[in-house]
Amino acid sequence: MLDQPIASRPSETDAAQGPAVVRFAGDSGDGIQTLGSEFTKSSALSGHGFMTFPDFPAEIRAPAGTTFGVSAFQIQIGGDRVKTHGDAVDVLVALNPAALKTNLAALRPGGLLIADRDAFAKRGLEKAGYAANPLEDGSLDGFRLEAIEISRLTREAALPEGVTKKEAETARNFWALGLVYWMFSQDRAPTAAWLKSKFAKRPEIAAANMAAMDAGHTYGDVTDMAPPPRLRVVTPSSPRPGTYRTLTGIDGMVLGLAAASALSGLRLHYCSYPITPASAILHGLAKLGGDGVATFQAEDEIAAATAAIGASFAGGLGVTGTSGPGMALKAEALGLATAAELPLIVIDVQRAGPSTGMPTKVEQADLNLALHGRHGEAPLPVFAASGPGDSFETVIEAARTAVTYMTPVIVLSDAYTANAAEPWRLPDVDALADIAVDRDIDPEGFHPFRRDAETLSRSWAVPGMTGLAHRLGGIERSSGSGHISYDPDNHQEMTDLRAAKLTRIQAALPPAKVTAGADAGRVLALGWGSTQGALKTAVEDLAAEGHAVGHLHLRHLSPLPRGLAEIFALYDRVVVAELNSGQLRAHLQGLFPHVSFRGLNKITGQPFTVAEIDAALREDLS
């Protein structure tokens, strides 16, 4: 979050205006994600802070109108303090009955519900399992319902552009977008430009969609559908000057890896096997082209990991990326990279498991696997990215660590961070530090396990270099010569050396720091990974009320940062919030037996809401 604007404490007025949460929902064929990304872009260009949350089914094309085929996109827009996609939805757009059924629970009482009345006909209602039309039976009385004939109005607006009736009707997502643009006074021009270029070969389709968008906008104007008072969105008051872009967690990983390559001068070799949600990293890097970045779609997860190891052995920057089930398959390769002491980055975009689980949903349950899931004693660094921007920084730090200490590094992301988007201030590339690669190796007395006294890193000689030919392998090696050794004392020494590397890494990493709320007091809220936004928001709100609660977020899970024991001692209790059943808490309890830990845990495939954390922390504070 380095490049996020520094949050200023909101005044009473700011809080009343607040940010707004909008959720678009429809069938997976309705273009909901397109709608979401266009609204995000327009929000960004209007200078809003935002965080998005695409919530789509794993099915590529589920049967139309079914509840399991519903695709949704949520965005929170507003001032500086937007750090999550928002808890309760202020405006829900439901394009069919199934979308209403699966998303209504998210709408806050009194919230605005915009529904396409035309889609609530007999067939659609039956498919969604409604016995009666909810738009007419009074069941939505607790909300502000705007049931609009969106399909008819779209058809009327789009047909004159020379498209078929079917093509005209598919533009209804843009009609809805136009209405929401009107509601938030946002500019339609960027979306119009995008439509023109997207449908350059079918200008009549572009025109139909633009006509629909304009019609939706006009509808708001003409009917004067006054927005609810909470929707007076404030623009950020104090963003840091600079150039911004929208960044997802996947973008952060892709650009971070590209940056690691540029900073180290090592050619990037990203080896991966398609798996949701990690595949998008492969797509992103493949799109950069072969010039400077090499991608390899391996035959399986094991080949992806071992090819990356091969690329590192030969002098490249070997990286593999996957999600939970794939991570399990790479375990043996991690042992090899640890034993051979080769740099390797392994990205695990966690999803809900076990087994196939829920591939598009979030969970932080691979932590135990990352920390402990290897044969033998094979300690290695485990870092976690706390958001899209932090993905960029974390992956660069992982590369720096892998190369500096000659070790595999695991980087944890998750399905939430991967797909969420936030505004990101572009870093000054010239200010990014080089990742030093020392290839100036003296052949005199060389052996592959000759070590740097400070980092304990071995010399990274690569095939092709003169006079440095050597053999590596998984069999235990003599610490003095690199030759095969079954000597008992040597195995102890090598095991200790591998562990000592982690200690050296810990010494070089920044110490732990409380980043929000009170520096000492009743409760420390501790988290890692994508829960950062919700935790920070909840803690800041509670601290503003005068509660003695602080927030500490861990990027470095192995080795843990220095100074944790001292910080823990400053609070009565440490609440460890994570989207698993308590993996980090159990780990910490073993390391800090005298600290009072409590777990705040959730495994629903959904991220924490601020309200959930707020409620849990209040329990500990009362």
Binding site: P190, R245, G292, A294, V429, L432, A469, G473
Partner: protein, 351 residues
């Protein structure tokens, strides 16, 4: 973009320096069982390397797990003893990072046909420029004698006391099915034959698959009688030579005639015993013939040795256009970060 590590592009050793097998020999004590066929294979490999003249610094040996996987420790080149079955995948990564290297992959029948069958298949179909040599002893030696995917049906072993019921893999046929463009077969005992086959494999730019029948003296002694018993070899094997009639036998009195209609081969008498025009010429570019040759075996037909199939094509790194020296520079990175829609907070307008 900038070019790094000029060593990657270093030229081969100057021609004046003659290399010998000794230049490829490490100081490591070779730890195979006395009488193991791997000794002979190692000797042949060292000789071929010396003759090929690549500097040891540009040669890489990658192996998996098993008896044969100890190869890298005994060769004074770069080497990597990896994990069971995965050597072809590791080697693919090596080749992507540096296409100039002469990369050899050594794996037994367990490595290549069993746990790593998938990786072998894909290295072959991608035509990665690797010399994949498979000492096949038709048994799991390092784990003390269980039957392997290459073992004959009925083989009794600690894990198949009543005899294995499984049909063995035909490695050459498997490689053909995977789309391999260089497939050869030889044997540990055939020191007048094996080096030539290895040399041809190394010369091929692409995936070269060489099955080397290898005797395991401890767990599967005599499995390949046809190549082990000098008295039988001439009559039980056929040495292939591209463009030459397929003639074999101690007295060179037998030939192989292919019936293209049925896709079968039969033995025909040659010389005093019959007309030579019945005998089919070996054509190593002929996929149909390679399929027939790969299947030939006792008792009716001789085992085909030599290059069964060789149809060169662009290798993987050429197809991919890998440029190992190309790395993103800071200027490229600046452009990448700003690609797409950006907006500026401060004095400038939306970009």
């Amino acid at each position: 973009m900038n070019v790094i590590n000029p060593d990657l592009a270093a030229p081969d050793t100057d021609a004046a320096t003659e290399l010998t097998a000794r230049d490829f020999t490490t100081d490591q004590e070779v730890r195979w069982c006395p009488g193991c066929g791997d000794y002979a294979i190692l000797k042949a490999v060292r000789g071929v390397l010396a003759e090929a003249g690549r500097r040891p610094d540009d040669v890489v040996f990658i192996s998996g797990i098993g008896c044969a996987a100890r190869f890298p420790y005994y060769l004074a080149s770069y080497g990597f003893h990896t994990i069971h079955g995965r050597a072809p995948a590791v080697a693919t990564g090596v080749k992507m990072a540096n296409p100039d290297l002469d990369v050899w992959v050594v794996g037994g029948d367990g490595d290549f046909l069993s746990i790593g069958g998938n990786h072998l298949m894909h290295a072959l179909r991608r035509n990665v420029d690797l010399n994949l040599i498979m000492p096949n002893n038709a048994v799991y030696g390092l784990t003390k004698g269980q039957y392997s995917p290459a073992s004959a049906t009925g083989m009794r072993s600690p894990s198949s006391p009543a005899g294995s019921v499984e049909a063995p893999v035909n490695a050459a046929l498997l490689a053909l099915g995977a789309g391999a463009r260089f497939i050869a077969r030889s044997a540990d005992t055939l020191q007048d034959h094996l080096p030539g086959v290895l040399k041809a494999a190394q010369a091929n730019k692409g995936a070269s698959f060489v099955e080397i029948l290898q005797n395991c003296v401890v767990f599967n002694d005599g499995a390949f009688e046809a190549v082990r018993d000098k008295g039988l070899t001439a009559d039980r094997t056929l040495r292939l030579e591209h463009g030459q009639p397929m003639i074999f036998g101690k007295d060179r009195d037998k030939g192989i005639a292919v019936d293209w209609q049925t896709g079968t081969a039969r033995v025909v008498p040659v010389g005093d015993g019959g007309p030579v025009y019945d005998v089919t010429d070996h054509d190593q570019t002929n996929l149909a013939l390679a399929t027939i040759l790969a299947r030939m075996d006792a008792p009716d037909l001789p085992l085909a040795l030599g290059v069964l199939y060789h149809a060169p094509a662009d290798d993987f790194t050429v197809q991919r256009g890998d440029a190992p020296g190309r790395v993103i520079g800071r200027a490229d990175l600046t452009g990448l970060l700003a690609a797409g829609k950006t907006w500026t907070v401060g004095d400038a307008d939306v970009a």
